[in-house]
């Protein structure tokens, strides 16, 4: 059998350097990564990359930094299995492989000029952070900005310092809630859905951007629809098992859509009738 090298194969990762890491919680770690030659990733908020730890495997991870950040990008990774465990052992100076960016993100061109309501549950903040920071960096291109964050306990809160900064801004409204508080917690306690009715919004010009665990979607979307936000103005980002990122391997398929190419960001009207999407 002959072996031929392929140039520019879609399967060939780019060797990239970890510039900085930061432990965020017991299970999440932030990585700042630079592509070779300091090339920029040129991603859209909501897109993801395939990260390789050679000898272990590859995993799809959302880009968490805003495209406005140049020269490097950030990933926030939860330790759940083989690849993510191996990733967590890496430190600044180590190399990883990067393919991508892949998929359709949140098209900022469409969001521009509109009001935004961000709803992030748990790890959902990771891809949303990319968009939030983009919006903040281009604040005057957008209308009102509401951010709702939820997680299990205060200890699981990600990006605390950044969230504080968002909170301090006058042009951003931010609300946090936890399922279970600890004595130091001063914010809300309860489900994230409980925060939505209290928000004042203009449904015609509001986009709801929702990212979180599967069960959260069903309830949050119900609330947004109750607020009369049109279906095509509700954006969600879905997680599926993925192997290639190229719309081939079949793992991420939701009916006729491939999450990796047609998503991971979808408007609600596109997927509401797809069985097993939400």
């Amino acid at each position: 059998m002959k072996k031929i090298a392929i140039r520019d194969s879609e399967y060939e990762p780019k060797k990239s350097r970890i510039l900085r890491t930061k432990r965020m919680t017991a299970t999440e770690k932030l990585f700042e990564i630079a592509l070779p030659g300091g090339k920029s990733l040129d991603h859209e908020p909501g897109q993801f990359v395939e990260v390789s730890v050679f000898g272990v495997g590859e995993a799809p991870i959302s880009v968490s930094s805003s495209p406005t950040k140049r020269g490097s990008f950030e990933l926030c990774i939860r330790k759940v299995g083989r690849v993510t465990e191996a990733l967590h052992r890496l430190e600044a100076g180590d190399d990883v492989g990067i393919r991508g960016p892949f998929g359709k993100g949140f098209s900022v061109r469409i969001l521009e000029g509109n009001d935004l309501l961000f709803v992030a549950g748990g790890l959902g903040i990771v891809p949303l952070r990319s968009l939030i920071n983009y919006v903040i960096d281009n604040r005057r291109d957008f209308g009102t900005v509401n951010i709702l964050l939820g997680c299990k306990t205060p200890k699981d809160m990600l990006f605390n310092e950044e969230v504080d900064e968002w909170n301090k801004r006058l042009d951003v409204k931010l609300n946090c809630t936890v399922d279970k508080a600890d004595p130091a917690w001063k914010g809300n306690v309860g489900l994230i859905t409980s925060l939505i009715p209290g928000i004042n919004l203009d449904p015609d010009r509001t986009f709801g951007v929702v990212v979180g665990p599967p069960i959260m979607y069903r309830f949050v979307i119900k609330e947004l629809l109750a607020k009369k936000i049109p279906e095509r103005q509700i954006l969600v980002s879905l997680e599926r098992h993925m192997k290639c990122g190229l719309g081939k391997c079949g793992h991420c398929q939701i009916e006729n859509l491939y999450c990796c190419q047609d998503g991971p960001v979808f408007t609600y009207d596109k997927i509401k009738n797809l069985k097993g999407a939400l």
Partner: protein, 344 residues
């Protein structure tokens, strides 16, 4: 020349001459009425009258396991994307399997392109072989409109008794003819025999299920919540045989393997199956097609509905392999019939 003629006596010359230059694979018997494509040196082992092989010829286009990437972790990590391929002639491919290869071609040429597949594909010369009669009761090639040649080959053989009429479809096909020098010119009488055979064939091959080709897509569209899937849920044993033998299934898994020196490693791609339990499980533990019935439905929809929207063609070729091999007697034609009855 469009059509050539090969005397049956010369088939052996054709194969052995080709085999001297490159790998030739053709259907051979595996006993128990089963066949497989295997390498041959001459025509002695080739079985012209065979039912679809256990695995379709997709195993040559997309091997069960292939290397995508080789890397070396010492000296600052280097890596190289590779494709393993080999020049070969694939002889004796039925029209259903030609259609299967076409399906794969479409799926892998869609952007982003899969060069591993495309490079390998270009090394394989395809020689088709017509079915003059049904393979067995599992076939539904007529329903899927794949019982007559429809392109996708370099040469196409039709067995007409003492000789084959050979359609030359590509330049590569022409080269095979030139190189082996065992073909003759086909004259009008030969062409008449071919036409007669085809006419007879039209009488034999009828839609195996009482539904029009065009109606298949709408049928599946409205069968989203059919009870048929619950029925399959009870029966399927999730052995994944149906997808592994399907000529148009191409799902895969990617894994890394490091050698024991912990320096050199490879990234492999292997066939995977949407019927396997963990196929659509994500890190939170949620599995999006947990029930076997849902997975079976997904399989059917990937043949009859989704590819229509995406590529405007069915991905079922009608080869009947899935029904032939199913441990639990799940039969594609029966399933379609049940859907029809239910919606009637």
């Amino acid at each position: 020349m469009q059509y050539a003629l090969l005397k049956k006596d010369h088939l052996n010359d054709f194969i052995s001459k080709l085999a001297q230059e490159q790998k030739v694979v053709a259907p051979v018997s595996r006993g128990f009425g089963q066949f497989s494509f295997e390498e041959v040196a001459d025509a002695s082992r080739i079985i012209l009258k065979h039912i679809p092989t256990i695995l379709p010829p997709k195993k040559y286009f997309m091997p069960q396991e292939e290397t995508l990437l080789e890397y070396n972790l010492s000296e600052g990590q280097s890596m190289e994307a590779v494709v393993e391929c080999q020049k070969m002639v694939l002889f004796g491919v039925h029209t259903c399997d030609l259609a299967g290869i076409q399906c794969l071609n479409i799926a892998f040429s869609e952007r982003p392109k899969d060069f591993n597949y495309l490079i390998r594909k270009n090394k394989i010369a395809i020689v088709g072989l017509e079915c003059n009669d049904y393979c067995d009761e599992y076939a539904s090639c007529s329903l899927m409109d794949n019982h007559f040649p429809n392109g996708g080959y370099d040469l196409f053989f039709t067995d007409l008794g003492d000789f084959f009429i050979v359609h030359v479809n590509t330049q590569l096909g022409d080269e095979l003819i030139e190189k082996t020098k065992v073909f003759e010119r086909a004259d009008k009488s030969h062409m008449d025999t071919l036409a007669k055979m085809r006419e007879k064939k039209r009488g034999i091959f009828k839609n195996e299920v009482d539904i029009d080709h065009q109606e298949l897509e709408p049928l599946f569209k409205k069968s989203q919540n059919s009870k048929v899937w619950d029925e399959l849920n009870k029966r399927c044993v999730a052995c994944a045989n149906c997808t592994n033998v399907c000529p148009s299934c191409y799902c895969f898994d990617v894994t890394d393997e490091l050698q024991l020196d912990l320096k050199h490693g490879k990234r492999y791609r292997r066939w995977d199956s949407c019927q396997n339990e963990g196929f659509a499980k994500v890190s939170g533990g949620e599995s999006f097609r947990e029930k076997r019935g849902e997975r079976q439905k997904h399989r059917y929809y990937r043949k009859f509905l989704y590819p229509m929207a995406k590529f405007a063609r069915f991905f079922c070729t009608g080869c009947g392999r899935c029904s032939r091999t199913c441990m639990a007697k799940i039969n594609l034609k029966e399933t379609i019939r049940s859907l029809i009855t239910e919606k009637a």
